[in-house]
């Protein structure tokens, strides 16, 4: 296993974890753009653009793109989050060059008007699909409430209103600004021929021009409130609470993730034994969500509406017992084993490694082997988890609950 990185003259970084023993290779463009880089009127543009990247280029029609992705036998896809847009494919090593040629060309889409209108319909369907599933609405609403007028409040998909009026011209300008080589990273993992990758990348992107793409990092002014939404067709009650947690660049996040596992993993955690194992709730979980400059500690409950009040009180109690029922050595060890083993098992596929190394590099400019990544968790001490646990008692944040009826 060898890590390689180079920066091309145009600013594009090319990084790879090379494993000559692997059966396949994965390739991805990590674009540093997402919902938080949008203006309120343009909400959803990053995600819309992600869809448009599959709709053809100067050299390829939309059909060509889809057919070539399949010609290469690739497993390919893309996703958009608050902070990044990622395009990736996994192929057999013999297709490295063809895969790079295609994926690179896709980064310079034609953005044709007629494709734009068709794809708008697909995205409106995607929004409707999530609207019909009540927990998603609660998540989006909780982000909006928590972050207020901060850009992280923006919905990744945008809203029916913004997506309906987004216009192709504005999207082209957004693309030009955000998809510049200095705002992209080309990431590869598995059986990669790195020299060849670098040479091809240079040839294919040499003419790309750098831009002034940046991201405004302003501290969010955190809100604290409780909100109930009514979604009449719902049969369960879903409640989500966001309170402050460490950011993706803060080493404290290992502590927070371990704590989230001890308290609210979907098996063997305190909330599991209290509420899930006992059949009181379908799900009761704590987990973290991290962004570049801030993070969240999240609590989630799904249960029957008539048990919601009691269950939520139990959760509050469990999370506030830092002093009374301290974390034990055993709990810490089980959580570490679970996290580390999951990481190592997952790392056997190059396609999973792509995201680990891509994220670590684009956000923290750091490469870690799977062993050293696991070591970060191994080093978490009982004192630090205990301290984080005790501080939960004083947490403030936003709570959003969605269910079939307003509480009486």
């Amino acid at each position: 296993m060898q890590f390689r990185s180079e920066k091309l003259a145009n600013g594009l970084e090319v990084i790879a974890e090379v494993n000559p023993e692997a059966f396949s290779m994965s390739l991805g463009y990590f674009v540093k753009t997402g919902a938080r880089d949008e203006t309120p009127e343009m909400a959803g543009v990053s995600h819309f653009l992600e869809h448009m990247m599959f709709k053809g280029t100067a050299r390829r029609t939309a059909e060509d793109v889809n057919q070539e992705l399949d010609d290469l036998g690739s497993q390919s896809n893309a996703y958009t989050s608050e902070e990044q847009t990622v395009y990736y494919m996994s192929v057999l090593p013999e297709y490295q060059h063809a895969a790079l040629d295609l994926l690179t060309d896709m980064m310079r889409p034609a953005l044709r008007d007629e494709d734009f209108q068709t794809e708008r319909q697909v995205i409106l369907e995607e929004i409707a699909m999530y609207d019909d599933q009540p927990p998603y609405g609660a998540m989006e609403r909780a982000m909006e409430q928590y972050f207020g007028d901060h850009p992280l409040a923006r919905r990744v998909l945008g809203t029916r209103e913004t997506v309906s009026v987004l216009d192709p011209e504005a999207m082209r300008a957004y693309h030009q600004a955000r998809y510049a080589p200095n705002n992209l990273t080309l990431v590869a993992s598995g059986a990669v021929d790195y020299e060849q990758l670098l040479k091809s990348a240079e040839a294919l992107t040499g003419h790309w021009k750098a831009s002034q793409a940046n991201r405004s990092l302003i501290s969010p002014k955190l809100n604290s409130e409780e909100l109930v939404m009514v979604h009449p067709p719902a049969t369960q009650q879903y409640t989500l609470q966001y309170s402050p947690g460490p950011s993706y660049s803060d080493d404290e996040r290992y502590v927070s993730r371990v704590l989230g596992t001890i308290l609210g993993d979907d098996s063997g955690s305190r909330l599991f034994w209290e509420l899930v194992d006992t059949g009181m709730a379908e799900s009761a979980a704590t987990f973290t969500q991290e962004f570049q400059d801030c993070g969240l500690f999240c609590t989630f409950l799904a249960c029957a509406p008539d048990q919601h009040v009691e269950n939520w009180q139990i959760i509050q109690q469990v999370l506030s017992q830092g002093k009374e029922i301290p974390i034990t050595e055993l709990e810490l060890e089980l959580a570490k084993n679970k996290i580390c083993s999951g990481m190592i098992l997952g790392s056997e596929r190059p396609s999973n490694r792509l995201f680990s190394i891509g994220n670590a590099w684009t956000i923290r400019r750091k490469y870690e082997t799977i062993q050293s990544a696991a070591e970060n968790y191994r080093q978490v001490t009982l004192e630090s988890v205990q301290r984080a646990f005790e501080s939960l008692a004083n947490r403030t944040g936003v709570t959003v609950s969605v269910g079939p009826a307003a509480p009486s």
Binding site: S24, V65, N66, D70, Q75, T118, E125, D277, L334, I344
Partner: protein, 414 residues
Amino acid sequence: MQQRVFEHRLSNGMVVLGEPMPWLESVAFSLLLPAGTQNEPEDRLGLAGLTLEMCQRGAGKYSSRDVVERLDFLGVDRSSSVTTFHTSMSMAAMSRVLEPTLEIAAAIVLEPHFPEDELEEARQSALLELASIEDDPAQKCFKELKRLRFGEVFGRSALGSETGLTEASLEDCKTFHRQSYHPDHAILSLAGNFDWDGFLKLTERLFGKWSGPAYRPPTSVLSIPGNSHLPHDSQQTHIALAYDAVPYNHPAYYQGRGLVGILSDGMSSRLFAEVREKRGLVYSVSASSHSLHDCGSVLCYAGTTAPRAQETLDVTMQTIRSLESGIEPDELKRLKTRVRTSLVMEQESSSSRSSQMAHDWAYLGRVPSRKELLATIDALTCESLLAHYVSYPPSRWSLVTIGPDPLEFHDAVS
């Protein structure tokens, strides 16, 4: 594609399979028991799932809490599920902890405690899981399609029914366990980094003395055509559609699977290209092959906002029928590349390999090699696919929709 698959049958009838993948650090096993929803008494729907849950609440030398803590300590990634014909348990871990992991799995299957004081909790969990599907209309749509298409016994959902779950007693769980958790037709398949001889000794020690009643093969499954609509206050209408196809154990299965690939594998497949890319009707549309014993089906899904649902259904059906005008050589070439790639990539995951082997054995009584599979796929031609379509045209359609309004369904000559 070097590959070696070991097979062994214990004297009690349990089949043990192993495929070494020494380049991995992990091992994964699947344990498949012939205890499915079809084995449930008709007034105890959900009993198979409830029994599985109760088995994990204390077994052998482990208490309910020990089972979870021990598996977490060992870093075992696990899942368990119930289907029409099977109860299955899958675990993946680092290869050095194979023995203690399999010991726990064996205890769960062979020596469950069935603690009286945990039955209510297990029942409540199962009832919650059953209720939660109401908020997932796409999943609910398939649950209803299965019920409609495969009837009272073979169309049962693993989630069970409210009455069945409410009525089930501890005695019912014990009886189900005694009658259906038996070595005859049980399969244990292992893939990853392990030593076969050592593994055989281990399975002999853990499962060798296991005994139970003989396996009773299921009766034939026959699809039941028809359609139904479930009114739901949603923006989208969910469409689940099915038609007959040859099953997994049919000699021509890969001809039929090839046709499904032309319809739905990849972004250039016909359904994705026509329904989503060209017309923008949906976010999701797909088709997949499904086998229930000797009954094969193609299952399709499309989700779209209500006013466009009729058009979506019509275009989906037209696209399926477009196969009758032939397969393009390019389409077939892409299909073959995709299969080859996925067979190579299968070697990167012990979990997917072990579950595939167990599935193959359950359906075929053998594990086809990658080489054999490649040769079968390579032998497909545009002509053979079209001929297969003509011999087995889509028939015996079932349709379930969930949404504001029912749709018109013209299933032509079934």
